[in-house]
Each structure stands twice: as structure tokens, then as C-alpha cells.
């Protein structure tokens, strides 16, 4: 049985150590915020210029001047601070963010990441993704193990244009948890998934320990 999205997010949240400053990408990574316990002091950064991102607002409390990088209405917290885009990316580029969680189209065995562009399709832009993967201390990819057409997303070499080269540290999919460190090391396998199933669904060579 492969992991549900909820289970994947919960697993990803375990990577958020006490005191971590974390940037969560748009989409599934945003949901990881639901699994942050109040006990461990995790601070969320939003690259449009905010540290200390709070939950979504209650109805009627939304503020058009207070949005996250996905343009969603959010709230602030007592320890929040606001700053410019330049200051925000100085924080990111300068290696001050401990962890970034992003979605991906492809990850290669050397940690190359592709998640911004499909040739031939309209390109919306890379936004802050290239800055995040180049600057943040640890990059975690949270994605389905296979594309919708069933093709593997953990590949020998990305066929799609890269977002960053040798940037991914950890991959969490619905089938398992993988460390990128001179190859793809299998750290955990979802329940009832066999090694062979993992191998069948992965193009890159897997290292089992």
C-alpha cells in the first residue's frame, strides 16, 4: 500500500527539526504546515517577504496585503517580520533557510531537479524555485513516485530543463523515502511495497541498505 498524500506530508514534517526555518513550495508542500506541532519551534518563510507565516485566515479576516508566495491569503504570528523581495532572497541565497520542500517533475540520481518547464508547453516561469534549490541548506522533494502516465520521476538524468543541478538531498514519494548521496539510497519503503515494485517504478538505480 502506497502512502496517501496526508501520510507523505506527515512524513515530510518529520524533517522539520526544532528551531528550523523552512520554506514550503506551492502545492502539496504547503500542506506540510498542517503537521507542524506547536512544540517544535519551526518558522515558515514565504519568499515574497515574510518570516513567521501563520495559518490561513478565518472568513472575513483575510487581508489583501498579507499573502504567501502562492498568492494565498495568510496570517501573521507574534514573531513575524516582513521584508522586501531582495532581503527575502538574500536570506534564501545566503543559506539561512534550513529546509525547503518542493514538488518535482523529475529528480536525477545526482540530485538534479526539474520542476519548472515542459518544452512545448506554455512556460509560466520559475518563480523562486531556482533560488530556493540553489540557496537553501537542505532540499526535500515531495512528489508522487510516478508521473500520471506511469513513467518514473526518479531518473538517471532529467530529460526536462533543470531547476537546479545536484541540489536535492531527500525525496519523499508515495512509495518511499530516498536520500540523494552519490546515488539514490532507499531509507524507507511504504507498507506492502516490495523492493521489486520500487525498482520497477524507478529509472535510477536504487541502493538498499
Amino acid at each position: 500500500m502506497s502512502w496517501t498524500r496526508e501520510k507523505m506530508c506527515e512524513r515530510a514534517s518529520k524533517e522539520l527539526e526544532d528551531g528550523f526555518y523552512v520554506n514550503l513550495g506551492i502545492g502539496m508542500p504547503t500542506l506540510v504546515a498542517n503537521y507542524i506541532s506547536e512544540k517544535n519551534n519551526v518558522t515558515l518563510q514565504s519568499e515574497n517577504g515574510m518570516l513567521g507565516m501563520g495559518p490561513f485566515p478565518k472568513k472575513g479576516e483575510e487581508d489583501p496585503d498579507l499573502i504567501n508566495a502562492g498568492k494565498q491569503t495568510i496570517t501573521s504570528l507574534p514573531d513575524s517580520s516582513f521584508f522586501s523581495s531582495a532581503d527575502s532572497f538574500s536570506m534564501i541565497r545566503g543559506g539561512h533557510i534550513d529546509l525547503s520542500i518542493l514538488g518535482a517533475m523529475q529528480v536525477s540520481e545526482s540530485g538534479d531537479l526539474a520542476n519548472w518547464m515542459i518544452p512545448g508547453k506554455m512556460v509560466k516561469g520559475m518563480g523562486g524555485a531556482m533560488d530556493l534549490v540553489a540557496g537553501v541548506k537542505k532540499v526535500l522533494v515531495l512528489m508522487d513516485h510516478n508521473a500520471k502516465d506511469g513513467s518514473p520521476k526518479i531518473v538517471n538524468k532529467c530529460s526536462l530543463p533543470l531547476t537546479g543541478k545536484e541540489v536535492v538531498d531527500l525525496i519523499i514519494t508515495n512509495l518511499g523515502v530516498f536520500e540523494v548521496d552519490k546515488g539514490i539510497k532507499v531509507l524507507e519503503i511504504a507498507p506492502d511495497i516490495t523492493k521489486q515494485e520500487l525498482i520497477n517504478n524507478t529509472e535510477a538505480d536504487l541502493v538498499f541498505s
Partner: protein, 237 residues
Amino acid sequence: MNDKTFKKVYKEAKEALEGVLFDGMVVMSGGFGLCGLPENLILALRDSRVKNLTVISNNAGTEGQGLGLLLETKQIKKAISSYVGENKLFEKQYLSGEIELEFNPQGTLAERVRAGGAGIPAFFTATGVGTLVSEDKTHQSFKGKEYIMETGLTADLSIVKAWKGDKSGNLIYRKTARNFNPVMATAGKVTIAEVEELCEVGELDPDYIHTPGIYVNRILEGKDYSKAIENLTLSEE
């Protein structure tokens, strides 16, 4: 530009744009999505019909909102942005070749603008190394790590939106409506700021000014802010 008359305050956005516009100019516009947009100045820019603009802005607006307004009137020749999703009109004009597009990683875009305002013609960053962004760019290694060189950006005109501003041009932004506005204010040959509340000189605390008045050539109190929300998301309870 040094405004010799030191009369920075303008009543209307249209009036504030007088004498600074020309076809083919480079315009920077603050804002992230629809947040912190100089709404009045964008409208006045549209009404001016100035054309062949190169627009430097993180996004290209949505249909009928923000810089989307300048797409309708085909005033934009080229956009330098990090993300232009959510805009079918942009997509159409791009695919038909009417509009040129240069994507910059968001942090690189912010830093290029900051560099332009700070007299730094170029800097090195690891962002984009090994990607399409690095093509044709100077590569250099520092302490064993590879970087690419990016250049500073300036504009003929920067239009920015602040929360409060005083008549000497000091600006304060509110929450995440700050975004690209402060750096763009520094990088325009002429910078025009619109504010929600125009204050008398002395009303703002000198310790908390985000943009010192030196960067603002003209200032006006905007009106009828739509402050549209692009992606209303509420908590469930």
C-alpha cells in the same frame, strides 16, 4: 532625476506621469501578484498610451488587473519577470510573438534590481547554475563552487506603491505588500510612488522608513484601490 523645484507632491497619477514617458522606455513596477501594486499609476500608464514598453515586474498581472491592463492595449513589447502564470492574454501575445519574455529567477530579479539601484553593474550567484538561465552567462568558481554572473537592472521609470508616505518622499510599506517596491524605488531614473495615505513631513518615525525620500521623485495619494485577492484561502474552522 533631481527635481529642481522640489515639488514632489502630485494630485493625480496622470499628472505625476507628465514629462517622463516616452515610447520604448523601460518601466519597473512593484508588486507581487496583485499585492502591493501601484494601481493608479498602472491605470494612468495605460491611459497615456505610451508604447513599446519593456516592463520589469515579478508578474504580468492577471486579466484586467495589474499589468494585465497594459497587455489589453498592447503597450508591452517585452517583459522581464519570474512568473507569468494565470494570464491567458499574456500567453496568447507571447505565443503569437507580439511580446518578448525574459524569465529571471525571482531572487535574481530582485537582486538585479537592487544592484542597479546600488551602482553594482554585476554580481555572482549560484542560482540557475546548470540550467537554461546560465546559458551564455559568465561562469566563475569561488572557493570551489560554481557561480554565474548577473547584471544590474535600472529603469527609465519605476512605479511603486506604499502604505504611507510623507511629502518629502519617505515611504512605509504594509505587510507583504512591500515585496519588490523598495528595491524598484531605488532603480528608477525617475521613481513615482503612490501611497494609500499621504502624510505631512514629520509624521513618520525616522527609524522605520523603508524607502528614504531621496529615491522618490514624485508622490501621490492613490484612490479607489481594488486590492484584489488572487487566491482567497481560508482556514476551515
